[in-house]
């Protein structure tokens, strides 16, 4: 009877997760959706706490209170620019939780007097599910914390690779498979299994998983981190699902599958946005923080000149335009210019100018990051447009203002087969009547390549700190 109540509670929470995620399809209902999912989680946890016969309810509550305190503190403290590393860290916590649960399950198999909480037989399938739970969980854990280190600049964002790295990866994978087989051979009734192969196998898999997680993320450059964060998000879901298989628990399997699917979809969107295959991203070595990356594209820009402009000229151009599109990149967030940009946009709207923001999928450091940074600066979400929605509009746009973006507006991606970014979908800023690029200097972007846009005859460069430049333009606009 009790088990039936629990199963129904898990069903209810699964339904709430699905409808919660469904409400994320629109910004108007998204907040309610997240709250619905949170209630779904509460239902699952409360049902487990009160209807399962817990031997140590006090300890469990203490654990929940400690975790909730730390989680709430982290969620409150984080800056919106720091969201990618927070999500990476949370992914990592989810991963290690799966490893620990699988470890506790092994302890149950080894304890002869343990309570009867699951299967009584250690079968080949048990061995495989435990192995997967440990392996995926551990890869998620170490991978996420390396990603956390890179994103928060605690370790270098440059791709790191060394001779024989791929061989080591293959050896570690083979070792995990061998250890799983070693565990699987030992199938027997619980009280009669030989604990050694199970425990030692699990330790081998945990170590291999930890190293694989590190090797997965270190060769990946700063520019590709959005893909990795999305991929690790998917892994954290798969780890939870694997744990669900170990415990034969549908709540974990359903939720894990939802998150696994979500992460994979986001990973794919990010790869498409960069015109790279997932394999190509994972092999890595592309796009570090430093300016030492790939050499220029096929078109030589040597000897070509750029037009430089001033804040008052830009102000006049913008004030008398019919339509202006802002193209923000992560450089804008680094310069903390988003509030100033919103102020300028408001001034222009007052003058009757139509203002839109064009957001490239990889504009921030995680999927949708730029939208969050602009939302934080009080930019209404109905002014934000995705690449596919807005690209056709540049031809009818008077001025496109590029702030801290580079590779995502480089026309070379459309026609220059020799360019490393050839084929990557870009924002067609060059199709606007005039484009203005705010930039600190002529230093190339993440991909380390020169940008043709800068040399176009209808492009003007406004050099200087983005925040100061925009503030100066806003002042001029106010006076017009």
């Amino acid at each position: 009877m009790k088990q039936n109540i629990i199963d129904i509670a898990y069903l209810v929470s699964g339904i709430m997760f699905i409808y919660g995620l469904k409400r994320l399809q629109s910004p108007a209902t998204a907040r309610k959706g997240n709250q619905l999912a949170a209630v779904g989680m509460l239902v699952a946890v409360v049902a487990t706490l009160f209807f399962k016969e817990l031997l140590t309810p006090v300890q469990m509550l203490i654990g929940v209170v400690i975790g909730a305190g730390i989680g709430a503190y982290l969620a409150k403290k984080v800056e919106m620019t720091g969201m990618p590393e927070l999500v990476a860290a949370f992914n990592g916590f989810g991963g290690i939780a799966s490893v620990l649960v699988a470890g506790a399950e092994i302890a149950r198999f080894m304890a002869h007097n343990a309570a009867d909480t699951g299967g009584n037989e250690f079968t080949a399938i048990t061995a495989i599910t435990i192995s997967l739970s440990i392996l995926i969980g551990m890869i998620t854990f170490t991978g996420s914390f390396v990603a956390f280190g890179k994103l928060s600049e605690r370790i270098s964002g440059n791709p790191i690779s060394f001779f024989g790295m791929r061989v080591i990866t293959v050896v570690l994978m083979l070792a995990s498979i061998a250890a799983t087989i070693w565990m699987a051979i030992e199938n027997n009734a619980l009280t009669e299994i030989n604990a050694d192969p199970v425990l030692n196998g699990a330790i081998v898999i945990a170590i291999a998983g930890a190293l694989l997680g590190i090797l997965l993320v270190i060769p990946i450059g700063g520019a590709d981190m959005p893909v990795v964060v999305a991929l690790l998000n998917s892994y954290s879901g798969l780890a939870a699902a694997a744990t669900g298989f170990v415990l034969n628990n549908n709540a974990l399997i359903i939720s894990g599958a939802l998150v696994g699917a979500s992460g994979l979809i986001l990973t794919n969107i990010m790869c498409v946005a960069m015109n790279r295959s997932l394999l190509n991203v994972l092999i890595g070595g592309f796009g570090g923080d430093g300016g030492d990356a790939a050499s220029g594209g096929g078109v030589s820009t040597a000897g070509m000149t750029v037009n430089s402009t001033s804040a008052d000229d830009v102000a006049i151009l913008l004030s008398y335009a019919n339509k202006v599109i802002f193209v923000p990149g992560y450089g804008m967030a680094v310069a903390q210019a988003q509030h100033t940009v919103r102020e300028l946009a408001e001034e222009l709207i007052k003058k009757g100018v139509e203002v839109k923001y064009a957001i490239h999928p990889v504009a921030g450091r995680m999927p949708g990051h730029m939208n969050v940074l602009l939302a934080e600066a009080n930019v209404p979400y109905d002014q934000l447009f995705e690449m596919d929605e807005i690209n056709a509009e540049f031809e009818t746009t008077d001025v496109a203002v590029v702030i801290g973006a580079n590779d995502v507006v480089n026309p070379a991606a459309r026609h220059d087969k020799a360019s490393p970014i050839y084929g990557m979908p870009i924002l067609n800023v060059d199709k606007a009547a005039t484009s203005i690029v705010l930039k600190r200097s002529m230093r190339p972007g993440y991909a380390g390549i020169d940008n043709e846009l800068f040399y176009n005859s209808n492009n003007q460069m406004l050099f200087g700190d983005a925040k100061a430049s925009i503030a100066a333009v806003t002042n001029e606009v106010k006076q017009l």
Binding site: M41, L86, M366, Y381
Partner: protein, 90 residues
């Protein structure tokens, strides 16, 4: 086992259908929110830590309870913080 696999596959399909319609604007809260959902491992942690009656299982599970709760509570709260910033033009 087969039953679990069926549930897993069906849930994956539902997840893919629902999530592929989430607009790019909401991809960050989608990630942080789905991340919180993956903290469902908390339920598993409570079961192994609270019910087995073995010291090793209890302590491993106890640590799992803490980290999974960080994941759950932190994930939902930060998602709420993000989503409350998304406003329409007034």
């Amino acid at each position: 086992m087969l039953e679990s696999l069926i549930v897993f596959i069906l849930a994956s399909i539902i997840g893919a259908e629902v999530i592929s319609k989430v607009p790019a604007t909401l991809h960050t809260p989608l990630m942080s929110g789905s991340n919180a959902i993956s903290g469902i491992t908390l339920v598993g942690a409570l079961i192994v830590a609270g019910m087995v009656g073995d010291a090793w299982a209890m302590w491993l599970g106890f640590v799992a309870v803490i980290v999974a709760t960080i994941n759950v509570v932190g994930g939902f709260l930060v998602t709420d913080r993000i989503l409350q910033m998304f406003k329409k033009k007034d």
